[in-house]
């Protein structure tokens, strides 16, 4: 029963990682860049929910919607201001800029919200589900995280595979020039990708802070790095890869904490990543990289 509990917790944490990883992987697939500030968008989203719901007393759903809207605008603004001028720059210049944006967001948060941790009130009002005579306890947050994860994954898969805009996204990710010749606005598509990823980051932030209720300006960075790891793990650029990578990472982390060592859990996660990349450098579902010159 313990194992089942850990597994469910792992799937729940993994769903949150998967939601964040989707943002990384979509942006990588379309814009060919690693948006290191993605984790910090999660943090901003969480603060927005904290302020609107806990401080101002808005209904939870409204707070989440506001957070998604603010993160969407934030993500699109970051892309427009910081990344789009670098469209033809070297990957290293873009990477350094992204790290810069990440620090900028953390420091703005430090300035505005202060360094004191805020205690985030879970947005999930349900009682834990107690099964098997109390041997199996599933928290409300776990259930909501898993359901939300499933909904987002299904919706995103349908969007990318079944809609014209999704098709255009795949076209841009494969060949920007040819996509433009079809009349697809590449800048618009990149902007839309950032918008989707950032809205998902807001959702992930709320779930994360409901499960781990301490909110600081650095809240987003570790989950951000883990989700990035998950995206690489599954094959960066691949949407199903991000889902699988996120879930596996969450499960490995929780099981590692439970059965090996809670201090070493993060090290185990990264060790697994290194092993996977040694065996299959492009990640679980990654396609062979053929860089065009």
């Amino acid at each position: 029963m313990d194992f089942l509990t850990h597994l469910i917790n792992g799937i729940s944490l993994g769903s949150i990682y998967a939601i964040i990883a989707l943002g990384y992987t979509m942006v990588y697939g379309i814009a060919k860049m690693l948006n290191f500030a993605h984790g910090d968008v999660i943090m901003i989203g969480s603060y927005v929910v904290f302020i609107t719901v806990s401080t101002m007393g808005f209904p939870t759903i409204l707070g989440i919607v506001i957070a998604m809207a603010i993160c969407t605008v934030l993500g699109m603004t970051i892309e427009k201001v910081a990344y789009s001028p670098l469209r033809n720059a070297t990957p290293l210049a873009v990477l350094i800029t992204a790290i810069g944006v990440s620090y900028l967001l953390q420091n703005i948060a430090l300035l505005v919200f202060g360094a004191n941790p805020k205690s985030f009130k879970s947005v999930v009002p349900f009682e834990p589900l107690v099964l098997a005579d109390g041997q199996l306890v599933i928290t409300g947050v776990s259930i909501v995280a898993i359901i939300t994860g499933v909904i987002i994954m299904v919706a995103l898969t349908l969007f990318v595979n079944k809609t014209k805009a999704g098709c255009a996204m795949k076209a841009v990710s494969e060949d920007r020039g040819a996509a433009q010749l079809m009349g697809i606005n590449v800048n618009g598509t990149i902007s839309m990708t950032f918008a989707i990823g950032s809205a998902l980051a807001a959702i992930a932030g709320v779930l994360l802070c409901s499960a781990y209720p301490t909110l600081t300006p650095y809240t987003g960075s570790m989950p951000g790095i883990k989700a990035f790891t998950a995206a690489v793990f599954g094959g960066i650029g691949s949407i199903p890869g991000a889902m699988i990578g996120g879930l596996l990472l969450g499960i490995i982390e929780i099981l590692g904490k439970a059965y090996i060592s809670s201090q070493l859990a993060d090290a185990i996660v990264f060790a697994v990543l290194i092993i996977v990349l040694l065996v299959k450098p492009t990640g679980i579902l990654g396609k062979p990289i053929n860089e065009k010159v």
């Binding site: 098709c167 255009a168 795949k170 494969e174 060949d175 020039g177």
Partner: protein, 236 residues
């Protein structure tokens, strides 16, 4: 006034001047061939016309409108389609999805269906393989897809960059027959070709390009009998 007017364009890659001040016209209904050796600048010219590259100097006008600074994604809805060098079909998308992307800027569903039926009738192989991923098509089939995709935008003019490249003789025949059909249906064609003999065979007029300059131009039949052209491009 010609449908497409190129005036004194100069195009650079960094500091390298690839196109050194070129002017030419394409009139409505014509088939114009642009021939020249590897590296002469043919692809560069087509990319500049459709907005993938910006000229440093000179102007391009299409249907009386200055399109020199128009971004690439706005050109196709003006009635210009481009079959790029090396096909560049979307390999992760199916044949059908590739064709749909060709009609990306069009809204009228019935008209899109009509174009789709026209493309399938020109290229029955595409219909047979509509659910297949484009990346798994043979080279010749990919070329058909690239042409079909361009036709899906219902263009007034099609720019084609070496459509016969790497194809077997039977496919080359097929592709040239289709270019003639496209022209016969009223679409203007600007054709870049290595296969100068075939290109001059179907063209009305032609321009000969050498390292960024136009060195010869005239009626296709005239050029076919030109000694320089014969030596350099027809291998006679």
């Amino acid at each position: 006034m010609a449908m497409l007017e190129i005036r004194d364009i100069e195009v650079y890659y960094g500091v390298i001047k690839a196109i050194k001040g070129i002017s030419f016209d394409v009139n409505e209904g014509e088939v114009i061939a642009l021939i020249g050796a590897n590296g002469a600048g043919k692809t560069t010219i087509l990319h500049t016309i459709t907005g993938l590259l910006q000229p440093k100097k000179g102007t391009i006008s299409f249907d009386g409108k200055d399109i020199t600074k128009t971004p690439a994604h706005k050109i196709v809805s003006m009635g210009m389609a481009h079959v790029p060098e090396g096909r560049r079909v979307f390999s992760q998308l199916s044949v059908f999805e590739n064709l749909k992307m060709g009609a990306y800027t069009r809204k009228d569903k019935a008209e899109i269906e009509e174009s789709l039926a026209m493309v399938y009738s020109k290229f029955p192989r595409l219909e047979e393989r509509k659910t297949q991923l484009a990346g798994t098509l043979s080279g010749g089939e990919q070329q058909m897809l690239a042409m079909g995709r361009a036709l899906m935008s219902h263009p007034k003019i099609v720019l084609m960059d070496e459509p016969s490249m790497g194809l077997s003789p039977i496919f080359v025949e097929e592709i040239f027959k289709i270019i003639e059909e496209i022209s016969a249906s009223g679409t203007t064609v600007l054709l870049v070709e290595q296969n100068a003999k075939k290109a001059l065979g179907i063209a009305d007029r032609a321009y000969v390009l050498e390292t960024g300059n136009i060195v010869l131009d005239g009626d296709a039949t005239e050029l076919m009998n030109n000694e320089t052209v014969k030596k350099a491009y027809l291998g006679e």
